[in-house]
Every structure is written in C-alpha cells, then in structure tokens.
C-alpha cells in the first residue's frame, strides 16, 4: 500500500434523503472523512452507471451511490431501478478487473446523519486499503494465458445447410418477392473472401442466396432492420437473431407484422457456441418465432449458451482479469464494427461519440476503448441474445461475447423469466416479456447490493 494514500471518493447523493442525511451529519457535528466529493443528484435513479465508469476512469478511487431506502423514494421507484442497474454494473466492473469494493450503493435517509458518517468512514477505509485505482486499459499488458479458446469455435457440426436447404431458401425467397409478402429478402450470398449479406429484391438476386456454411461465425441480419425505411423485409435468421427481433419488437423498434422471419433449421439453426449448459425446459414453440423454417425447427433457447472461457476468466483473481482485459482493449482500434454489427445498438448518437456532453475523448487508446466496451456491455443487459455478431465482426478478434455473456449470466442470476423477481431471465424468448431494466420487484435484491 502506498504510504499516506488518501483515496479520492466521488459520492452521488440523492437530494431528498442522502444529501439531507449528509447535511444532518454536518449540523450534528458528526465527523466523516474529507475524502468524499459529493455530487448532488435528484435521485439515485438518476445515477447512470456511466457516471460511475467515468469517475473511475478519471481517477476516482471509489464511488459511493447513496439514495433513499427502498420504499421511501421521493419519486416512488427511482431507487428500485438504481438497485437493479447497479446489481448488474457491479458484476460487470468486477469482471473487467475493478475490485468490487470500489463501488458501493447504499441507502441513507434524511434522519440518518450518523449512518451517513459511518457509511462514508467505512467505505473510505475500505478503499484506502485497496490502494489507488488502476486505470483500466492503461497497461499494455500481455494477456494471461488461458486454456479455453479466445474465439469460440462454431458449432461442432457447424456445417450450414446443404444444397437442399439452399434450394428451399431460394424458392421461398422468390415466392415471397413474387407474391409481395416481402419487398426484400435479407440473406447471405457467396462473396469474394467470405459469405456476405445480400439484399435480394429481384428473382435473380434471390437465386444467389445461400444458407451460410458456418452460421455461428456470421453476422445478425436484424441489424439492417433499422435502415430499411418501411420496406417490408424477410430475414434469414438463426435462433439468436430471431430472439433479437423479439427484443426489438418489445422495444418498439418494429412490429412483428413488418418482418417475415425465415428460420434456419437443423444444423444451420444451431446457436453460435457449443452448449455447455442445459437449455431450460420452457421453450416457446418455434411456430410463434418464425414464419418459415428451413429444415428441422431450431430451438430458440439453444441460442444463448456460455463459452468455457467465461467460466475460466470468472475464476481468475481480479488482477488477472484486469490484465486479460487490458490486453484485449489494447487490441481495439475503436472501429466500432461491434456496435455497427449489433442489432441492439441502434442509438442515433452513441455515447462514445456524443459531443455534448462528451463522455469520451476521441483518443484511440485502451482506457477509452475499455470505457466504450464496458458501457456497451452494460447497455446490452437483458437485451443481448448472444448472436455473437460483435465478436464475429471484430477485425482484431477480441472476445467481446464474454462481456455480453457475463452480463447475461448475471441478469439470469438476479431476474426471473418474466423479468421480475427470480432467476433465469433470457432475452428475447418472446416479444411479450418485460425488459429487466424497465420493471422491478419491491422485495428483491434485499439489503442493497455490495
């Protein structure tokens, strides 16, 4: 530990309870460490995890978020939302190499001056014992060797559809176009160095469609749905892609009747990763997910299974995780292929490029890359369906899917299949299920998190 280290702590305090609690501590002459710099916010629900990430990146050694006790929110439920968000963000920060104790979310009411003083003192001492914050991405580290492959292998029997499925697809596409059921069929064609997306709107183009040879290594065509300007599209989808469409429908980005889903069945419809976890029993019938299926109907929940590397990285000590991610973020050039390939990244202006406020510098250097990827993974919480398009699009081969899988795992640990209290949430199994960050249960995540 560095001698005479005085931690810098940023505190986000809700105006109605915790800030008043801090005030009370002051007027009651209770002492607390001067290390905390307080930012008054209207509600703990106003504290975007982005603020925390930004504080840590810019050198805060610890971040304290304090709000009204659950049930006492001035705006009735802001702190319930904050509690959910930080439950996930906390796990994510730990996964990328921040000591989890550096961020604490707690509740202090306006009458709890003594409690405020105690929480700040405890937290300051805890952070003091951890030492100065490590700037994520700042070291050009060599990645610790890992046993599992960096890039997930495509499905063992990763051979896509044979000529039979391809013929079936071409015939179907031609029919959809001829009958006016779709203005364009989005699928794949053979390219000069790899299979590539094809926008087939004529019979000639439809005759070039192919079923991808390695569906697990392909992109997710749902990402193009945002650019079609009202043209009704038929989409060739893997299970994870169909689930992504469900999330987009739930988010109001499109209507189910605006899109025709052609499911890849059989081997071609397998998820992007080899299964290492059993699929849950509750599978929606494929009929509701697809309009047409080529071959044997695929199973929707097959789409999101975790890679062995996730378990391995999770099992490492925090410093090793940090070194691993430093090395990965050092490879990133901020080309944004991951974001552009992602059907869930449809913001008109990404926070990474926003000018006012400018959350990020334009620097192409690892700490900025780290900031971007962590925030992107957080924004995909309860939304990512594991299609792997981000990793497949990344020219540097960064295993971005690990961040998404980690978040999905924590979402499944904290939230139930209906998005409420429980366990086992999976994004996009249907277009009717609530998104976890839009709902809450009062008696969940008791005692705050961390």
């Amino acid at each position: 530990m560095i001698e005479n280290f005085e931690p810098r702590i940023v505190g986000f305090l809700c105006n109605w309870c915790s800030y008043a609690g801090a005030d009370l501590a002051g007027t009651s002459r209770l002492s607390y460490p001067p290390n905390i710099r307080i930012v008054r916010v209207p509600c703990s629900g106003r504290v975007d995890p982005l603020f925390v990430m930004r504080a840590l990146r810019d050198g805060a050694d610890g971040v304290l978020v304090l709000g009204c006790h659950p049930g006492d929110c001035h705006y009735s439920d802001g702190n319930y939302h904050a509690r959910r968000r930080f439950a996930i963000m906390h796990e994510l920060l730990s996964f990328v190499g921040y000591e989890p104790e550096r961020v604490r979310v707690d509740w202090v009411s306006a009458s709890e001056g003594a409690r405020f003083s105690r929480v700040v003192s405890e937290f300051t001492e805890k952070v003091r014992s951890l030492g100065p914050v490590r700037r994520l991405g700042a070291q050009a580290a060599t990645a610790p060797a890992q046993a599992a492959a960096l890039r997930p292998a495509a499905t063992s029997a990763g051979q896509g559809g044979g000529p039979g499925q391809t013929a079936q697809l071409r015939e179907l596409a031609a029919r959809l176009l001829a009958e006016g059921q779709a203005g364009v069929v989005l699928g794949w064609e053979k390219g000069s160095v790899r299979e590539r997306p094809l926008f087939a709107s004529t019979a000639e183009q439809a005759s070039r469609l192919v079923v991808p040879q390695e569906p697990g290594a392909s992109l997710n065509l749902a990402t193009y749905l945002h650019h079609l300007h009202g043209k009704k599209a038929a989409l060739v989808v893997k299970p994870a892609d169909a689930r992504a469409v469900n999330v987009l429908i739930k988010e109001g980005q499109l209507k189910r009747e605006d899109v025709v889903l052609i499911g890849l069945g059989g081997e071609a419809g397998r998820g992007p990763l080899p299964a290492s976890e059993p699929s849950p029993a509750s599978e929606p019938s494929p009929a509701s997910a697809y309009d047409f299926v080529l071959g044997e109907p695929p199973v929707l929940s097959d789409a999101f299974v975790t890679a062995p590397l996730l378990d391995e990285v999770e099992g490492w000590p925090v410093a090793q995780r940090a070194a691993f991610w430093d090395a990965q973020f050092n490879k990133c050039e901020r080309c944004y292929a991951c974001r552009q390939a992602c059907p869930m990244c449809y913001c008109a202006e990404c926070l990474s490029e926003q000018l006012n406020p400018a959350w990020q510098s334009i620097a192409i250097e690892a700490p900025e890359q780290a900031f971007f990827h962590v925030m992107r993974a957080y924004h995909l919480a309860g939304r990512c369906t594991g299609c792997n398009a981000c990793s497949n699009a990344c020219p540097e081969g960064i295993p971005l899917y690990l961040l998404n899988q980690k978040v999905a795992r924590e979402v499944a640990r904290f939230f139930g299949p209906d998005g409420l209290k429980g366990t086992g949430y999976q994004a996009g199994l249907s277009a009717d299920v609530a998104l976890p960050f839009t709902v809450f249960t009062k008696d969940e995540l008791a005692g705050g998190h961390a």
């Binding site: 590539r196 050039e333 202006e349 510098s361 334009i362 250097e365």
Partner: protein, 338 residues
Amino acid sequence: MNQEIISRQELSRWLESLLPAHTIIAPVHREDRDAFAIIGSAGEVAWDAGRTANPAKEFFFPASETIVRWRTGPAGLQVEAPLATRPQVLFGARPCDGMALDVLDRLLLADPADPYYRARRAATTVVAWACGGEGPGAGPFEGCFCETVGGGPADRRFVDVLLTRYGDDYAVDAVTEKGRQLLSGAKTEPRELPALTPRDTPELPMPPPAAWRAQFDAAFWTELAQRCLGCRTCTYDCPVCYCFDARDRALPDGTIERLRCWDSCQGMQCFAIAGGHNPRPTQASRQRQRYMHKFLYYPEREGVALCVGCGRCVVDCPVNIDIREVIAAIAAAERVPA
C-alpha cells in the same frame, strides 16, 4: 544473375546491432495474425509473416497523438509540442507499404508540411521484403492488387533497401544512400541467383478518373452501401487513409493536450458540421466518398491513387465489401455506352 546475398542469421545479428540506437518495427506473430510491432529483440521477427494485419502508417501517423500540450505553473505558461526524432527502421515492409509512404508524402510533406509526420518520416529507413521470391510469406496475398494502382511485387522505387527471399538467404538491393548507410554494418556476399518467375495475378485494369466521375450519381453506390455496417475497419486498415480529428482534453494534473486521432469517412459524424448539418448523411454517400477520394480526387490532385492495392480492407471488411469489385464495376460501367 549475380547478386549480394545476406543470410537470415546475419540479418538477425545486424538488426540486433541496430536496436540500441533505433526503434525497429517489424512483422511479428500475434495470436492468429501477423502484425507490425516495435520489437525488443531480433528474435521477435516473424520471418515467414505474410502481409501484416495492420498497415505501417501508425508508426508515422499514430492513431492517437498529442500534438501540443500546455499548462500553467509557477513558471507561467509552459507549452510543449513534442516531435519524434529517434531513428526508426521499418523492417519487413512490403513494396506496397513503401508505396503507401510515397502516397502520403505527396500530401503530408507538401507545403505546409505536417511536422509530426515529417519528423517520423525523416527518421525512418524502410527495409522491405519483395513479394515473390521463395519461401513462406512470399505473397501475393488474398485480396491484393498492387499492379492495378501502379505498384508491383518487387517495386523498389519507394524503399531504402529491398530484400528478396531465397529460402534462408536474401538478395540485397540497397536502393538509396540512406539504405546503403544503414546496411554498412551487415556482411553480404555475392552469389549467382536464378531470376524469379513473375507471379501470375488476375488482371484488374484501373478505370481513368473520368470514368469515376461519370458514376457519381449511379444507383450502384446505394446498392453497395446497403450491406455496409458503417464501421471504420476499411479506413483504419488502410495504409493511406489519413483523415483525422483534433480535440483538446484536460488531464487530471491540469495539463491540457491537443490530440490528433484517426477519423473515418465511414463514421456517421465525420462530416457533421456546426448546426447539425451533415453533407454526407447516408452510408451510400460516405461509401462513394471513400472511393471517389481514392480514385478520382486524389489522382487529380496528387497524380496517384490513394490506394496501394494491399488488400487489407478486402480481407477485413466484416461484410466483404471488396474494393476490387468496385473498381471492376466502374470499369464495366465505362464500357457500357451511355
């Protein structure tokens, strides 16, 4: 053909002897790809490397660079504009990497010259490996087409030393005085070598600038851009794309620095101006800009294409937008009478 030959062992020893006084950039194996990197010992050189995944431009025009920094202290305002002056050797570049420097020189060294680029450029000696020759990594590589833009696999015009591989030996061609001086510490011996058979590459003729201009309003760009994701891979991978953005940032210690960082014409906000107007609002207009800049505007202004045919964008584009197909499409359109 009688030529000076240097063994790999001797090359290695020579590189090692240069290390104390030079920054040496060479191809290394990195995970599943080869990449240019600054090496710490000659043992890191990947002798059988193919085309590197990254171009060498980051060692002349870094992705992120502080061009000036200032702070106020007890001594008043202190301003610093650091220029790189340490001698560097770009080893194992390909002729197209050398040509890329010539293409960039025309713009960045023309008056007013870019001082940061000029400093690094002046401090660098380029020791290239010819494509062709015998042994792994000889090329040509997937997607490359240097002949189309006026280069060639053994083009010696833009390098200081050209090495041609014969198994574990290399034929040495010291092209410039700078190259000869750098080589002065290396032992070479004359040997009779067979002439290499020229490689057989598919022909891809370059349409003249007028043919590009004629296609400015073609529907082709919209079709091409449909599948473009709008990422920046092609431009960051490109050895000659030079767009940048500059912005100031404040550091925690009170220093302000002005950063210059790569930008990309494929990004949505690249052309956005004050007031929110974006003169290139669609991906089609941005795709068109990329190719028009390379094959119409730059040739008209600088006399050469803004492309060296390395093929990096071809292999790295996640949706396989292939610059060769664009060139072929414009050529085909030219043949069709209007």
